[in-house]
Symmetry: C2
Subunit: 77 residues, 2 copies
Amino acid sequence: MKVTVTVRPREGILDPQGEALRRSLTGLGYDVTDVRAGKVFDLELEAADEADARRIADEISERVLSNPLIEDYQVGA
Amino acid sequence: MKVTVTVRPREGILDPQGEALRRSLTGLGYDVTDVRAGKVFDLELEAADEADARRIADEISERVLSNPLIEDYQVGA
């Protein structure tokens, strides 16, 4: 089953990569006031059904794909 | 205007980060057969309207956020 997990820096947490990109884009002449940089993971996993896939993806996201102290994650289809 | 850009490794292109994650997850006992790792960027930009925002986001994605040789990007709301 395919599951996509998106991981983003939490609100209020500094995001140096996004900030560096914002500065570069401004330097190139783009009127960009904010950039936040996150990650996306497309997983193919074995699961009994969609609820099971969701449960596994939540567990993987918390344990491996994100750092819950500074990042939020979303599990999507 | 808020625009989200998602950048993923192209089909058929090796993804060492995704492969390392797959191996780690398998080692932890998860039945994960494939992982592809990409990036997500949430941009706040000045634009006349939605079409203009889309045009700017396309340009930024091609020039800065992705490497078109090995990555695909998607612009979403």
